[in-house]
Symmetry: C2
Subunit: 371 residues, 2 copies
């Protein structure tokens, strides 16, 4: 017989999931109702409205995909890219590379703009790519590269795409609610995020938002969307409030309760206050890490406050330290991905994890192991 699973209590300071407030956990445990219940429809409307605040958008089509962030990414690409469409993809980390994979699998023709891992996307290279490819229909970039901790200039990149008449897809999995992001002001047409980063909900949902221009593009498609589950033409019938709602799939009811509560907490704090808190906690953590002689991977101007990438000091076994942090301090931090595996640590200060108590605890734990 298998016993019930009682998870250990962790302090989550990796690249996500972040610590989940008890209020969100409590919400997850409320009684399940049906996905067509009028009360659930009301919940959905409130979630959509609060997500608009988080994305800083008026987009009607703003909602959580019933799956993790990678499905939100795929929803953007399978709906907006048709076979043969040229897409400029910026790649300065793992998630730019994943965007490229998505372009290929939808039959798009990628134009790759590469920047070194740990640096932001260079707007000049993007401008040059558009000049060389004036028929490019979409620009895709990652606002906050979770694999490196580098932040790109969403406003500059959005404006360039607009100047060349292209749509923009932006990955804001790690930036939403953690660092300034203005979807409408920047002219972003499609954005996707995750519930488990700066929103501090449990993982499994992917908030997305689509501009009217994006919807027009989808409606004008001449080929069917390759995914049934992610086809916005079908999803729209379920998530749009006006008129009769059509059954598409069964939404994850209880995780939606959790996301709702996480957004209520964000509303209570205020979005700008949340951004300022992430910044303030980052400054404190940085001061402590640098006092120990640790060096940041990303230069200050492009550094994400909510994801602190630092080099592993020479001669230190990074995996051994992470294991000790987990086993002796119950503290989770992240390893490097891809090219940066073994070379860096990633310390998250996301959502509910971005608090003084966690900063102090993390610094204390590091001091216990570093020379």
């Amino acid at each position: 017989m298998t016993a019930s699973f009682i998870p250990p209590k962790r302090i989550l300071m990796g690249p996500g999931p972040s610590d989940v407030p008890q209020r969100v956990l409590d919400a997850m445990a409320r009684p399940t109702i049906g996905h067509l219940d009028p009360a659930f429809v009301e919940l959905m409307e409130q979630i959509k409205s609060m997500l608009r605040m988080a994305f800083q958008t008026e987009n009607a089509l703003t909602f959580p995909v019933s799956a993790p962030g990678s499905a939100g990414m795929e929803m953007c690409f399978v709906n907006l890219v048709e076979p043969g469409d040229k897409v400029i993809v910026c790649r300065n980390g793992v998630f730019g590379g994943r965007m490229l994979e998505n372009v290929k699998r939808t039959g798009g023709v990628p134009v790759i703009v590469d920047d070194a891992w740990g640096t932001p996307v260079d707007p000049q290279k993007v401008r040059d790519a558009f000049k060389a490819n004036p028929d490019a229909k979409i620009l895709a970039f990652v606002h906050a590269e979770t694999s490196t901790g580098a932040q790109s200039d969403g406003e500059a990149l959005g404006k360039i795409a607009q100047a060349f008449g292209a749509l923009t897809i932006m990955d804001c999995v790690t930036s939403l609610a953690g660092t300034p992001l203005y979807m409408d002001k920047w002219g972003i047409d499609a954005a996707y995020s995750g519930s488990q980063k700066c929103l501090s909900c449990t993982p499994g949902l992917s908030p997305v938002s689509f501009s009217d221009r994006a919807i027009e593009r989808i409606k004008a498609r001449t080929t069917p969307v390759q995914s049934w589950f992610l086809d916005l033409n079908l999803v729209l019938g379920y998530w749009q409030s006006s008129g009769k709602r059509t059954y598409h799939h069964t939404a994850p009811i209880n995780p939606m309760y959790g996301l709702h509560e996480a957004l209520v907490i964000l509303e209570e704090e205020g979005l700008e206050n949340a951004w300022a808190r992430h910044r303030a906690m980052h400054e404190k953590l940085k001061a402590g890490l640098e006092a120990m002689g640790l060096k940041y991977v990303v230069e200050a101007s492009a550094r994400l406050p909510q994801l602190n990438s630092i080099y592993v000091p020479e001669g230190v076994d990074e995996a051994a330290i992470r294991a000790r942090l987990l086993n002796e301090f119950s503290l989770e931090i992240g390893a490097g991905l891809g090219d940066m595996a073994g070379k860096i640590w990633r310390i998250g200060l996301m959502g509910y994890s971005a608090k003084q108590e966690n900063v102090d605890y993390c610094l204390k734990a590091f001091k216990a192991y570093l020379p």
Copy 2:
């Protein structure tokens, strides 16, 4: 300011979600841990093992997809069907139709076997379809049609596909843990289900299982899988235990706690006892409904115990009755879908909802409104 969402307490006797036991809800609220935490890996292994019991399979590749049942369906089709592959699709309700959509979107060539809604798939028609299409590579059918309440003969259909050298994809969203199902004995190669039916977990996860023959087929593909999120070649690196686990996506941690607890409860009861309980509760509900003069849609030999489809009596406004059941009894039952909209009700007796208390309550509520 938005207030926290407090859902009404419902009795869920629709086509899913079903009532969720408090133990599962409590599990959902346990502290979130990381998706790469050794404790989470252990949880995954236990879930995989208990799912094998539920599917009655030895398949190593048995796990929950991080999204609802429609994503589980899509995972089966995008991985097993290559452009040009001939697929025999049985359509006797909404979900057979959805399978057909999936075949088309993967570039497969569908051969449709139609049966009337409310009847099971006719094995002779399937045999004839194979004779007329000996090059068909896959047979796809729905074991338990949630839209009608009809059960098809999984064993007979699985054996026919094997005789013609084809793989079989089976939808068991509504049957898993509710009615006898033997994946290995029947020779089924790919099966998908949902967490929110007879497992009585919250919605959002899709248990799937793939035979070694299915994995060989996937490995022998000459075209890439069109979905990144659902590509089993990538998912395998995350869900397979042996060796180094690769990051693919962030799993929905807390819903996995819920699924684990739901499976522990199933293990405690015993799978065959759970099947018997569904059958016994169905007999009681049926006796009560028939005593009121209500007629079943599906004939007794193909009737699903966990989904009771009954005709709305002449002159009765079905939507008004459903609304009163919800508003005055807080009881959810289901409407008809597609061709059966307005003509039938669907009363679920799934998982935790399949109990004497619910049967009595449902009959009492119906008596209050029916002549």
